[in-house]
């Protein structure tokens, strides 16, 4: 194995994604422009134009077709990638089911953006979380480095379990913000991520195969079970791949939930994506001020890391769940999921849901501190005043 010497580049989150696509030796990219995703596919086109990447680039006429073409490419044995955001992801929705149902390991980057109306191009997780039940794995990146690493790991995990994966980054906060990213030399990426070995191959004519055919009630159920099982199996693969990534490149992703200060914390902040960068910064400061707080950053939302969450829940008095998303008629989606996991367990920390930063509203260190104050009060009182707090609301 060659020695790992990282190549440091200052890139946006979107460029980090594009470099990862190049380094993953993706063979087909089918994509449609949408803000703030566009610079991913522009950068990929630039790589092709410069002769730096050998990719079949299909500039489709819609996001629905972007996913359909990616599915066709993946079914025909290629490593396929696309990228989108918000309305574009919603337009793909039908085909997301097709990719997972046909067991095609397509990888896409979704740039988290709020759904319209009213129009918004800013950060919000509702677009990706609305795709929760499509059978895609979901990795939420905190920073540009995690976008790059997430794409590489997602291909490896997806191609191992034959389930598609989505790497999710925040609109503008990551997509258009420049930061240092440690990239991996091509030959080392090649060692980590060998060429894809497809589950089936439409270009193999030694026997006739039929993919996606009608299945009667006698068989459909088992198809679903196998997908469910693959998602469950993915947990181990994710941890193994994350560990391998750490051993090879020094950044360990073996935890599906990244934890900090949890062991002696009264309560932890739980959330996903870039807002957890702010939380981690705030927690460091709060610790210095004597607050017994920690954080639990959910990296993989699908498959959901139940076991890791339970471990955290058993050791703390409270969990403040930060949701940059909302399920109307109910509550924040991560909050809802986390509560559901703990119901049949003996772990019963107080859980409060803070809805933050919808549609790109700033979420800052003082905000985290204010929530910490509120959470402290709740824990001292031993009961919730209200379960869901719209934290930023202009009253």
């Amino acid at each position: 194995m060659a020695e790992y010497k990282p190549i440091r580049k200052v890139v946006s989150g979107n460029y980090a994604a594009a470099y990862a696509v190049k380094h993953a030796r993706v063979q087909v990219v089918a994509a449609y422009p949408i803000t703030p995703q566009t610079s991913i596919i522009e950068k990929i086109a630039e790589f092709i134009a410069n002769g730096e990447a050998d990719i079949q680039y299909v500039p489709v006429e819609s996001e629905h077709s972007a996913m359909a073409a990616s599915i066709g490419a993946s079914a025909a044995g290629a490593r396929a990638f696309t990228a989108t955001s918000a309305q574009g992801l919603a337009l793909m929705h039908e085909m997301l089911h097709w990719a997972s149902g046909a067991r095609l390991p397509v990888v896409m980057v979704n740039v988290n953006r709020a759904m319209a109306p009213p129009w918004s191009v800013w950060d919000d997780q509702t677009d990706s979380l609305a795709q929760r039940d499509t059978g895609w794995m979901q990795f939420y990146a905190e920073n540009n480095q995690e976008v790059y690493d997430g794409v590489l790991m997602s291909f490896k995990v997806a191609e191992t379990v034959n389930v598609p994966a989505m790497v999710i980054e925040s609109a503008f906060i990551l997509s258009h913000t420049y930061d240092v990213v440690e990239m991996i030399p091509q030959e080392l990426v090649d060692e980590f991520l060998p060429p894809r070995k497809p589950l089936y191959d439409l270009a193999d004519f030694s026997r006739a195969i039929s993919v996606g055919a009608l299945a009667t009630p006698n068989d459909y159920y088992e198809f679903r079970y196998k997908l469910a099982k693959a998602m469950e199996d993915a947990k181990k693969v994710i941890k193994d791949v994350g560990k391998e990534f750490g051993e090879r490149f020094g950044r360990d992703y073996s935890e599906m939930i990244e934890k900090g200060y949890v062991d002696d914390a009264d309560f932890v902040f739980m959330g996903m994506g870039s807002l957890m960068g702010t939380v981690k910064e705030a927690v460091d400061l709060l610790r210095k001020e004597g607050y017994k707080v920690g954080y639990a950053k959910v990296r993989w939302f699908r498959p959901f890391p139940k076991e890791e969450l339970l471990e955290i829940a058993e050791s703390v008095k409270g969990i403040a769940v930060l949701d940059r998303n909302f399920s109307f008629g109910q509550e924040g989606i991560l909050f809802n999921e986390a509560k559901g996991v703990l119901y049949n367990t003996s772990a019963r920390p107080i859980m409060k849901n803070y809805i933050v930063g919808l549609g790109g509203r700033d979420f800052t260190v003082p905000d985290v501190k204010a929530i910490a104050e509120d959470m402290k009060r709740v824990i001292e009182a031993g009961k919730l005043d209200r379960e869901v707090e719209w934290y930023h609301l202009k009253r």
Partner: protein, 311 residues
């Protein structure tokens, strides 16, 4: 069955079969016949993409497969996009596509999946210039869901959502001219074909294989169930559709039009001959028939002019 050498020499349709008995098409189904010809023309090294349509069922429910070719079933509106993706993947993998010995990527979609919900993906496929063949088998309604009108349903036709009744709620618009929309993309090759003229169809399929870029064939494909026609009359009806110029056979190749009629000198037969064999047209009034006849002849004249000027 062994075919005598004397007959073999006269056959232009390949004897080999890639579409097997035991399929679940209705009696007299034009689509099943059409798909059989497609596979005869292209052989085993074919990837067929089938969206939601009758052929989803005809090809067989899992784990069965009536076809000796690789199938990818996809969502209704995606045929054009999926064949684009497959073609791109084959190219990325260095696998030869089209030509005499290359893999044939075939989109096989009905009129609803082509003229209506799949039109956008078809347009994308055509304008991007992928090396694949898109075949629209035109049975002039949504047959798989139970005979609802599509934009390819002809004027005056009964369907379950244009049932006629005392308000005369029949289809009021003429058939959408999908092939004209296709030609507007300046594709290298587009053609109409009919299951009643298999030699012509196979010749066109083979031509589509040779010409680089996207090809489109609109195949007239009777549906006895939806057309309320006797199951043994499908070929006769399809032949009359051509002979009345209701569905003329022609080719568009690199800017040139060519009409391929079986009896080029003959004037079109009256449209009634085509209509009278089908229960779906029985609610038409005299005026409706005249209206349809006028449209057929106008479009026929237009096509003749195109072939004359751009032949």
């Amino acid at each position: 069955m062994e075919i005598p050498e004397s007959i073999k020499k006269r056959l232009t349709i390949p004897a080999e079969e890639h579409f097997f008995a035991g399929h679940t098409a209705c009696q007299g189904c034009g689509a099943s016949l059409g798909l059989r010809y497609v596979l005869k023309a292209y052989g085993k090294k074919t990837i067929v993409v089938i969206p939601a349509c009758c052929s989803t069922i005809i090809a067989g429910a899992w784990p069965y497969n009536t076809l000796d070719a690789n199938l990818f079933h996809t969502a209704f509106e995606t045929t054009g996009a999926v064949i684009s993706g497959i073609e791109a993947a084959l190219k990325a993998r260095g696998i030869k596509v089209k030509g005499e010995d290359g893999v044939m990527v075939v989109g096989w979609a009905g009129d609803g999946g082509t003229a209506d919900i799949g039109l956008q993906a078809l347009s994308g496929f055509l304008e991007r210039g992928h090396d694949a063949v898109y075949i629209m088998y035109d049975n002039e309604a949504y047959m798989n869901t139970g005979i609802q009108r599509s934009s390819s349903t002809p004027y005056g036709a009964w369907t379950t959502n244009t049932p006629g009744g005392k308000m005369h709620f029949l289809e009021k618009r003429h058939k959408k001219k999908v092939i004209d929309i296709v030609i507007a993309h300046e594709v290298p090759y587009a053609a109409t074909a009919s299951v009643a003229f298999p030699e012509d169809f196979i010749r066109k399929l083979k031509k589509a294989r040779k010409i680089p870029g996207p090809s489109f064939i609109q195949l007239f494909s009777p549906c006895p169930t939806g057309w309320r026609s006797p199951t043994d009359k499908s070929i006769e009806i399809a032949r009359l559709a051509v002979q009345t110029a209701y569905f003329p056979l022609f080719e568009y190749e690199n800017g040139k039009y060519k009409i391929n009629m079986p009896s080029p000198k003959k004037e079109p037969k009256p449209i009634e001959e085509f209509l009278k064999l089908q229960g779906r047209f029985k609610y038409m009034t005299r005026e409706d028939i005249e209206n349809l006849q006028a449209w057929v002849l106008r479009e026929w004249e237009k096509l003749k002019k195109l072939a004359e000027v751009f032949g």
